[in-house]
Amino acid sequence: MAPAPPTNQSPAIPPDDHVLRPRAGWAAKRFAPLVVLLSLLIAVGAIEPSFLSPYALNVLADESSVILILATAQTVVILLGGIDLSMTAVASLASVLTALALPAIGPSALVGVLALTTLIGAVQGLIHTRGQAPSFIVTLAGLGAWSGLALTIGQTTIPVAAGYSAVGWLARSSIGVPNSFCLALAALIALAVALRWLPFGRHVYAIGMAERAAMLSGVPVGRVKILGFALTGLFSGLAGLAMVARSSSGSPTIADSLLLPTIAAVVIGGTSITGGVGGLGRTFIGALTITVLRVALATIGLDPAYEPIAYGVLVIAAVALTIDRSNAQIVK
């Protein structure tokens, strides 16, 4: 039998369909975060010119590194359509464990701490996928549990003296750029490459956009999600180490104030909180914006109490600007 199906003559003409999504304002949406960051820099620079000096920018980079590390892994989980609220608690726990273990067993303690935080993340991912519990709930429970554990073990700030050099290099600078910032940037680039060119990245975006369709295409949804949460665990650990390096101590509440800023960084960058849309380039801009805001408010001499208000306003504005309404009509 002849296979020739009756069909149109020209296969490449525009689709006869008419549900093309309106593209108007696409550029505005895509580049708004960058514009916000630049205007913020310029505005602050105008008020306080010293803010743009090499020294101040260096401080800025140093200041941004922990948020950058946390936001990088958070982005992956948010792209998956989930969220990890436990990252800062795990980072604090990591700082306590590092402060306790580093003087006792030396640099190998770092490997142990990172392995442990990765495991914590993976277990949360496992509970989320196998138990079919929303990641919001699982990691909210984690936030409580790991904070409590850190407090139980650590009680208070633990100074690190012996063995500090194992993390101390993170607090120094090479060729004028803080090492912690270089580490954060390297980690971000590595994950960005993974998201773009590894099957893992494709899977992440597919799951975030349409989990059932991804699953029915043979995407190992459970494994990808667990890997995503293992990454947030690992990066929480890294953030913990960076904080130990900065303050020469570990503390059970050291990262507590960073939970809102990291999520804000991801969202302000333009990654959709509903999953599937966004990326690490955007998070980089978002994290810098948050840091500039933090530092600038302090530089200008504004009461630190206003800081969270500023995040709040920015998050709402960013979500209003970036959310893909055509895709996310049902928002929970």
Partner: protein, 504 residues
């Protein structure tokens, strides 16, 4: 004849560069059922959406009962007397039928902000009685069947009547496309009843249905209303010609594959069962065979398909692939064994809407496209373009988001997703032609035949008995979860009646 109740004059609507409606004019008379047909993307849904206030036209007028209207939303359209039943059901599953019917216009049933349940049920019952539907107003909506929910939607649209004190105009957007034989009969019967109190615009891909209930039929092609036919003056072939502007290739449309399949058994199912779904199901699927499952919706066939793809677990029984028993705990495992699945719910389960055609096509086989740990993007694009050409997928580029293609082209993307796999052995098709227009259907038919010729084992659950018969070498019939009839390839093709007998 009196002034038409609804007149559309020169309606145009564009989305970006695409003209969805191009100078459309038509009219609907009092107590008339008007059929609206056309291929996917011809503009039928857009027209209904403009009438129902979901979209705004760029140009043109809509005149209802002699007065020009331009409703800004569904509520405003309802105030003009236009009610719509959408293709995707828009009922709240977790409240009662009565609440759904009267949602937003509770009237007397609302007393200082609280439901007066007795009045609410009574009002809802009035609407349901109009349809003669035996549905309890106090039933939880989620417990109804799909066909029953469709009736509830119609009842809700009919409730407009009381508020406008006029004959309503009811727009039905493919009300039968998701229903099985019984459900279709129910809905078509309701349309006949509706005629006594309303005007109806009925969109369907099934021309036989349109010819059964519509008095007049408008044909849309490429956003234009190209013809109107009286029911008495046309037949299916006429309408197909009008819609396509050409004759359908008869061979692709209906002819069943005559050749027999090879002797090699691809997939064996032994005594497979799942609680409350199916039991004791056994069959062999050969290489080069299309095995059709004929059933009424909910008889276990779809669930069986999912088990064979690892998307659902079977409780008992054995699945043997190429002579070796396999365990399918998740779809990823089935894909690893060379089993592909085209789900019925294309938009939710078939394509990842926001991703491009390229990413959708290669999603299941990224491992085969790797160079080292990375995806070979250049090779990927070459492969995807090749398949776009082979399946004649109409898409502007390989990067176009899949959800902006028409239904038929989306379905081809889903098929290509499996066909690019180098070791594909079995393809499971769950209602592969659902929601497709006849042109796209014919292409899908031809493709399925070709797949079987290429040595694939194809398991098929199709929309209608005719489709199963036309497409399959062998047929098993399922009823209430058990195999109630078998028509092997060696025997003569069964008739429609023979198959139906075993189903009902």
């Amino acid at each position: 004849m009196t002034e038409p109740v609804l007149r559309v004059e020169g309606l145009s609507k564009s989305f970006a560069a695409v003209r969805a409606l191009d100078d459309v004019s038509l009219d609907v008379r009092s107590r008339e059922v008007v059929g609206l047909i056309g291929e996917n993307g011809a503009g039928k849904s857009t027209l209904l959406k403009v009438l129902a206030g979901v979209l705004r036209a760029d140009r043109g007028r809509v005149i209802v009962h002699g007065a020009p209207v331009s409703p800004a939303n569904v509520a405003a359209a309802a105030a003009c007397g236009i009610g719509i039943v959408f293709q995707e059901q828009a009922l709240l599953p977790n409240v009662t039928v009565a609440e759904n019917i009267l949602l937003g216009h509770e009237g007397r049933a609302l007393r200082t902000g609280f439901y007066d349940w007795r009045t609410l049920y009574a009002l809802a019952a009035t609407q349901l009685e109009k349809l003669g539907a035996e549905i309890s107003p106090s039933a939880l909506t989620a417990t109804l069947s799909f066909a029953e929910r469709q009736l509830v939607e119609i009842a809700r649209a009919l409730a407009i009547e009381e508020r406008t004190r006029r004959e309503p105009i009811i727009l039905l957007d493919e009300p039968t496309s998701m229903l099985d034989v019984n459900g279709i009969e129910t809905v078509l019967g309701q349309i006949e009843r509706l005629r006594r109190r309303a005007s109806v615009v009925f969109v369907s891909h099934r021309l036989d249905e349109v010819l059964r209930v519509a008095d007049r039929i408008w044909v849309m092609v490429n956003g234009r209303c190209i013809a109107m036919r009286e029911r008495a003056m046309c037949d299916i072939a006429d309408l197909e010609r009008l819609m396509l502007g050409r004759e359908l290739d008869a061979g692709c449309q209906q002819q069943a594959p005559s050749s027999t399949h090879g002797p090699k058994v691809r997939l064996s199912v032994r005594e497979l069962g799942r609680r409350n779904s199916y039991r004791g199901v056994s069959f062999d699927l050969h290489a080069g065979e299309v095995l059709g499952i004929a059933e009424l919706a909910g008889s276990g066939g779809e669930s069986l398909c999912r088990a064979l793809f690892g998307a659902e677990r079977a409780d008992v029984g054995e699945i043997i692939l190429d002579g070796r028993p396999v365990r399918l705990r998740e779809p990823a495992e089935a894909v690893g064994h060379g089993i592909g699945y085209v789900p019925a719910e294309r938009r939710l389960e078939g394509v990842v809407g926001g991703l491009g055609v390229r990413q959708n096509m290669t999603l299941a086989h990224l491992d085969e496209l790797r160079r080292g740990p990375f995806i070979d993007v250049v090779g990927e694009l070459r492969l995807v373009k090749n398949w776009i050409d082979r399946l004649r997928i109409r898409t502007p580029t390989a990067e176009t988001p899949a959800n902006s293609l028409s239904g038929g082209n989306q379905q081809k993307v889903v098929l290509a997703k499996w066909l690019i796999g180098r070791k594909l052995k079995v393809l499971i098709l769950d209602h592969p032609t659902r929601g497709l227009d006849i042109g796209a259907k014919a292409e899908m038919f031809a493709l399925i035949h070709k797949l079987a010729r290429d040595g694939l084992g194809v398991l098929l659950v199709a929309d209608t008995v005719d489709e199963v018969i036309a497409l399959s070498h062998s047929i098993i019939v399922m009823k209430d979860g058990v195999v109630s009839g078998r028509f092997p390839a060696s025997a003569a093709k069964p008739s429609r009646l023979q198959v139906l007998e075993r189903m009902l």
